[in-house]
Amino acid sequence: MSVLYDPIHWTPHKRMYDRLMLSFVAGYLLLFGVLQLALHPQITAETLIIRATGTLAFLMLHIILSIGPLCRLYPKFLPLLYNRRHLGVTMFLLALTHGIFNLVQFHALGNADPLVSLFGSNTQYGSLARFPFQALGFFALIILFLMAATSHDFWLKNLTPPVWKALHMGVYGAYAMLVLHVMLGVIQLEKSPVLTGLTGLGMFTVIGLHVMAAWKQAQKEAGASARKQPPLETQQEDTLRGFVYACEVAEIPDNRAKLLILEGENIALFKYDGKLSAVHNLCKHQNGPLSEGKVIDGCITCPWHGYQYLPENGQSPPPFEEKVCTYDVQVHGSSVFVNPKPYPEGTSRPPALIV
């Protein structure tokens, strides 16, 4: 939402987030190092770095993938989402360290180019069990690099939000490749079942959380579209042509919204200062659910990254430029009606007054 781009738009929350994250990284590396030295006293520094950075990056990827569904299931996890990009970039740097040390230790000491050696030292691409797992790690690292390198708001704006979002969904492809990378690596090089078990547990957690969040969202959307219209007088029927019954005024808490799915439109109906306004539910930044946000300082505030919109016209307050569609709202008695025909993004519509 920056007007001019900063390297990082620091806030006290981001500083705290980064401090906690770096403490976790340092704590993990220290603990892992001590454990490895205790279990394998002969271990070399390079192998220790490869193992520590690889396992930590993979663990952090699980945390990153779990944050989204966790926030949908339990909104108290939302603070973890606000600065997820720093978590992602740190995870990439750890994965990169793991990759570079691997490349140097196993592929840079011969005559061949390190990358040619990486792809050419094991060419059993047709075999499932003997498949070259390092190639999978390389391709996953490329995806993680693309995501980390394009995490700045400059890329969101210039690649356009749909392309940027599609690019960043590549994290699931990277995750699938990394699961295979770890599993094949264990099958081909290790004997201990611990890593296989932990990877299975991680996969089960990530998939389970995504399934639960999708189920909750489906339930919510079913509730948002199933309504019984109250009986109307003939005069009311005329003024309400094109409008659909949304809910009762009392169903919406102050400075909060109700999600509506009306004729396929995803609408957030907000109640604030004795008024009601409706805007499109998806934030322009990363498609965050505006209906789960609050009205703060007179602005609808996205729960994901704090992007703001004025409820009356769906525009971000100046000098920002984001806009969402708006809808007409009417109140009759205690009932709220919304016309699901969207107005162009940023169109001013008078709010409905709660009598």
Binding site: F119, T150, F154
Partner: protein, 79 residues
Amino acid sequence: MKTIEFLVDLFYLYLFFGVVFAAMFLCRGAALIDEAARGISWKTRALLFPGSVAMWPVLWRKWRKTARKMKTATSNETL
């Protein structure tokens, strides 16, 4: 092995073009395609450098498109 060598060379070539392009893009092109990138600090430019290396074909297309648009607008004003 020959195929692998060829693909790896192609990868290095892509990176080489990317590095050259990114240096030019962050000096001139970024501000042209995005007003908010005018006068950005060197720290921000450094942060955008890896992405510019990776995404150079997309950015090159966008830069050319914007430059062509500006040229057309200038020649229309002259007329």
